[in-house]
Amino acid sequence: MAVINYDSELRRAGAHATHGWRRLAFLGQRYLLGTIGLFIMLTFVWVAAAADLICRFDPLSVDSAHRLAAPSAQHWLGTDSFGRDVWSRIVHGARISLAVGIGSTALGSSIGVLVGLVSGYLSGWVDLVFQRVTDILQALPLLVLALVMTAALGPSLPNVILAIAIPLIPTVSRVIRANTLALRELQFVEAAKSIGMSETRIAIRHVLPNTLAPLIVLATAQLGSTILTEASLSFLGLGIPEPYPSWGRMLSESAAEYVRTAPWLVIFPGIAISLAVFGTNLFGDALRDILDPRQRG
């Protein structure tokens, strides 16, 4: 029988880190990819928050004398055809991407939660109607819906967020509804009923908090895809309009004209988008593993 090093085995299992920072450090090691994802996400959040501090240039200020400058000490990531500093634009673009990502995910999720909760909790005809509505939303292709919405509302940041949020509703509400249905059968809900608690209070106090974990997992997963959807909308000409520096538009418009002559205009926004999406996905994956006990390997 092979000699077993108990200590190292235990360390690998995380037994030495049950609380506080050490636990976090262990989880960080255990879910290395997730940590990288979290790190990327935090970096983006930090960059977005500190955008004004870490850029030396106004992302909107045009400078015809320094147009299409290659990356240099002056302009770290070069300048675009307007002579605007690409680094500043990407940094400020993080705000837009985060606004789109978080805004639409939050909006879509909260409506989805409401619909899912009501539908799962009330059942009956309310459920039937809500479910049909979700069916309908689900059978309408996401991008088409977003296209019609932005066309209808005009291309502005809030409208794009709204347009991207609406297609998120059916997925979220389905998950929440399924969860609610399962939770409703749980005895602690019945116990709450038996003490004479009102249905609304039960829904809010007992059911909702317990759908949080799947919701967070779902939301992180969707965060990335909303950023991508915005990029696709930009590509089709319906994304966040100028003057906001949206990564999607930076990428899709520069790609046409400057991919060879000024590749930095394409490479950096591309990296920013992919990295942000990659980061949220990595983190979401790990989060799912951590929050969903069934997924634990």
Partner: protein, 340 residues
Amino acid sequence: MTDARPLLEVTDLVKHYAVRGGILRRRVGTVHAVDGVSFSVGVGETLGMVGESGCGKSTVARSVLRLVEPTSGSIRLNGVDVTHLGKADMRPHRRSMQIVFQDPFASLNPRMTAGDIVGEPLSVHGLASGRQKQERVAELFQQVGLRPDQMNNYPHQFSGGQRQRICIARALSLGPSLIVCDEPVSALDVSIQAQVINLLIDLQRKHGFSYLFIAHDLAVVAHISHRVAVMYLGRIVEVAEKSELFANPRHPYTQALLSSVPVADPKMKRLKPLIDGDVPSPINPPSGCAFHTRCRYVMDRCKVERPVLAEAGTRHQVACFLNAGTGREAEIALSTSSRP
């Protein structure tokens, strides 16, 4: 004490569940979960209820508390018919009856502290708040043998037996007179089970609660109950004083049930199941006496006619044609003691 006026009277309780299928969720069948059950529980009395899985025990319990709406029948609590009370009218009555569930893991909200869980009924009914509530909760904790300093812990930080104590404390918080226990010890370890049973007994002694005590473990039921009702497929087939029932089981199903219990005595190896076959589905319960498909004494009559629960001795009711007075007594040898 069982002669006292009944606290709970259940008459002809019926609960049918629709079996729904497909997306339109149309009714495709009916589960006869409870199919005409009558019983009463006196003040300070414990009525045990046994029966195989799916025979409708939990449904009875939940109907009594109006957690499900009975299809028909009536439930009277302290002489008040609560069967059709609206939500608001029901609220004061909820304080008089509480339930403890089988699974202490599932019956506590994992995201609330033990103190909040126990205190919640108080705030829902506006009985106490703030400090007063804290004190009351601490008191309840002590009553069920938990340390008040555990109030801020979450359910997962408790062991199974402790969780069941939290459930009991929650049930006690409103000062009920009836506690419905739906298999409160089935999920517990053998050595913990005794602690919870003792707690229930102690509480009854102290406060004079009535219990409707549901279990599938005959030994537990036998221990705690004054009277025992045996259910089979949605109906009570036999009900009697405990000693009477165990000494003199009349219904063939009760007999089979008793004989199936493995006796903890190696000298009495008698593992000869008196019945075979499975419990029929409550969606299509057999005609006549529901037990006739598995009964050793089945007669033609049993297949078409349903025997009613009839008096068959002192405070002993049986629903079986064999016991309708003249019929042949079902013979069975039962051990009288199992203790080595």
